[in-house]
């Protein structure tokens, strides 16, 4: 934090290059993340979207070095404000985690300790990175809780996690992630378990946070519409890779990758009520048994012989896509 003596340049907070995380299972090598690159600027929110098994969560875990055996980061780099995180030992990672980069998980009931009060847990989180008096810790914690919209924060510090509702618990988890003035938060499906009205509250609070405090967010979700309300950039993952990326509105309005287009067309919101939804044929391939070339090839209606060769990431006017047969203006707004 104190290293911020240099002028604020637009250097990204988080820079990920060719990240690869593989799982070495008895059945074979699962390339859960296979060459993911992106960068995240101050106050920016990017949405990482994909279906189950696309590698979006493993990408999130890899960013803060939380991959357990048989998984291993086998290549690439993750730079947090210029500091390389890949290859850092546990002690080094512990210094970074929670202080400069933090993660919020889907189920706050699992991440919060049920036998400690919220105040105790927040004190622990603070004490992990700095020496702080109990009183100062309470003040900082109450402030963090207020920031995420928890009413009557000082009194709530003495409550236990089970005394909070699901939405409030998730707010506590976000407050803990924010305690040290964290620059980047990785949020893995943080609102999936919540009701729509509570989800809407948290989404609008997250947007405020990013705007006011400059916190950068990687929002991992399977839900395109949540991401579209929140993120300025969207990354679509399929079988361990980013298949399409770009500014949210552009990607959603005119997807270039057939997978993105297929996903969008399969949403009930895009179809006339009562009519059949368009569907992507088949199912997501097993990562153990990926087809040669483009992994989406067997489900793609535009596939040709060319697709037996792996398409490279093409970048043009702020967008990127991995496809030999891109489409323009598939979905008219």
């Amino acid at each position: 934090m104190t290293a911020a003596g240099k002028p604020i340049s637009e250097a990204p907070i988080l820079e990920v290059r060719d990240l690869a995380t593989h799982f070495f299972t008895r059945a074979g090598v699962v390339k859960a993340v296979d060459g993911v690159s992106f960068s995240l600027n101050r106050g920016e929110i990017i949405g990482l979207v994909g279906e189950s098994g696309s590698g979006k969560s493993v990408t999130g875990f890899s960013l803060i070095g939380l991959v357990d055996p048989p998984g291993r980061i086998v290549g690439g780099s993750v730079k947090l404000e210029g500091q390389e995180l890949v290859g850092l030992n546990d002690a080094g990672l512990r210094k970074v985690r929670g202080a400069r980069i933090a993660m919020v998980f889907q189920d706050p009931m699992v991440t919060l300790n049920p036998v400690l009060t919220i105040g105790q847990q927040m004190h622990l989180a603070l004490a992990a990175h700095e020496s702080i008096s109990k009183r100062a810790a309470r003040a900082r914690s109450a402030e963090a809780l207020t920031r995420v919209g928890i009413p009557d924060a000082p009194a709530r510090l003495d409550a236990y996690p089970h005394q909070f509702s699901g939405g409030m618990r998730q707010r506590v988890a976000i407050a803990i992630a924010l305690l040290h003035g964290t620059k980047a938060i990785i949020a893995d499906e943080p609102t999936t378990a919540l009701d729509v009205s509570i989800q809407a509250q948290i989404l609008s609070e997250m947007r405020e946070l990013a705007r006011e405090m400059g916190t950068a967010l990687v929002w991992i979700s399977h839900d395109l519409s949540t991401v579209s309300t929140l993120a300025s950039r969207i990354l679509v993952m399929y079988a361990g890779r980013i298949v399409e990326e770009g500014p949210t509105a552009q990607v959603l309005r005119s997807p270039r990758h057939p997978y993105t287009a297929g996903l969008l067309r399969s949403l009930p919101a895009m179809a006339k009520p009562g009519t059949d939804l368009e569907q992507i044929p088949g199912t997501t391939p097993s990562l153990l048994d990926l087809p040669e070339g483009c992994p989406f090839r067997p489900r793609c209606d535009r596939a040709s012989e060319l697709c037996a060769k792996d398409p490279p990431m093409t970048r043009a006017d702020d967008r990127g896509y991995r496809c030999h047969h891109t489409l323009e203006e598939m979905v008219s707004a």
Binding site: A200, R253, P268, P273, D276
Partner: protein
């Protein structure tokens, strides 16, 4: 007056908490022990015509699943009655017949992992005489095909299938009982988007091809809009608004329905639309102690004094369109 195909008449469901040992002892000794039952479903009246699809929408704890289970005859109402085609679905705590089948949210929990798919599907029809041993394979094959599965899957076990395929197996099992009514409790909530589309399409196909009546319970407003003819919105055990789907979605009258629809993240927004995103304030109150008057009043942006004291009744405000709000017109 002729009765609707499914008629849910002023149905209540209360769950009483189990007393602790200490409380049981003092109550035996004659002391009064305060127990507050959870009013999971609090006086619901609904009609569904044959072949129609009713969407039941609400957030967690609103009682939509409890209501669904009472329609399916899994739970007995504390008060009121659910009748299908004039006959009650439950008599003396026993499910009366097999006219109603249920499809649950989690196809990983609802299929017995030790049974082959064919046995899962044939179990009910064999027990109820809809199929015999000789015709079992053909019977199973027919329903697997109807659910969009290959008949050869009958010899496999549930773990060999993905979530979407398992949900199809659950649907095949339900259809094999030749039900008149299918209660679907969050049938697509645990599925990926592309798989969700396949299952939604399957429901649409079933509705077209069979004269089946569907109760479609979901928290996902866009899926419900897609499959339902009528929608009922629940809040804390009560119906706050019901009516034809398009009417509810385009011209909601109850402030809760309006708030709920506005809370749904839109897929394509203008860049400025972010500013207009206004979530409903506050949280859902505990059903143990619902607020007095209109249950929604503490969160309602337009509540007046009357809303805090008097309970609004569900009243007709348009053709087939009801709302429980003092201020709805």
């Amino acid at each position: 007056m002729s009765e609707a195909f499914i008629s849910i008449n002023d149905v209540y469901k209360r769950f009483s908490p189990r007393l602790s040992m200490a409380d049981r002892i003092v109550s035996k000794l004659g002391a009064r022990v305060e127990t507050r039952p959870v009013r999971a479903v609090d006086g619901v009246t609904l009609m569904v015509e044959r072949g129609q699809t009713l969407g039941l929408v609400g957030e967690s704890g609103c009682g939509k699943s409890t209501l669904g289970r009472m329609i399916a005859g899994i739970l007995e109402p504390t008060g009121g009655q659910v009748r299908i085609d004039g006959k009650p679905v439950m008599q003396g705590g026993r499910k009366a017949d097999t006219r109603i089948q249920t499809i649950f949210q989690d196809p990983f929990a609802s299929l017995d992992p030790r049974m082959r798919v064919g046995d899962i599907i044939a179990e009910g029809p064999l027990a109820h005489g809809l199929a015999d041993k000789a015709g079992e394979r053909a019977y199973v094959a027919a329903y697997l095909e109807r659910a969009g599965l290959d008949p050869s899957f009958a010899d496999r076990f549930p773990h060999q299938f993905s979530g979407g395929q398992r949900q199809r197996i659950a649907i095949a099992r339900a259809l094999a009982m030749q039900p008149d009514v299918l209660v679907c409790d969050e049938p697509v909530a645990s599925l990926d988007v592309s798989i969700q589309a396949q299952i939604v399409n399957l429901f649409l196909k079933l509705r077209r091809e069979m004269s089946i009546t569907l109760i479609f319970i979901s928290h996902d407003l866009s899926v419900v809009r897609h499959v339902s003819d009528h929608v009922a919105i629940m809040y804390l055990g009560r119906i706050v608004e019901s009516g034809p789907t398009e009417k509810i979605y385009t011209d909601p009258k109850h402030p809760y329905t309006k708030g709920l629809l506005e809370s749904v993240p839109k897929l394509l927004v203008e860049d400025d639309a972010l500013v207009h995103f206004k979530p409903i304030m506050g949280e859902i109150p505990s059903p143990l102690a619902p607020p007095a008057g209109c249950h929604f009043n503490p969160r309602c942006p337009i509540a007046v004094e009357l809303c805090r004291s008097e309970d609004p009744r569900l009243r007709l405000i348009g053709p087939g369109h009801c709302a429980a709000c003092h201020l709805a017109e």
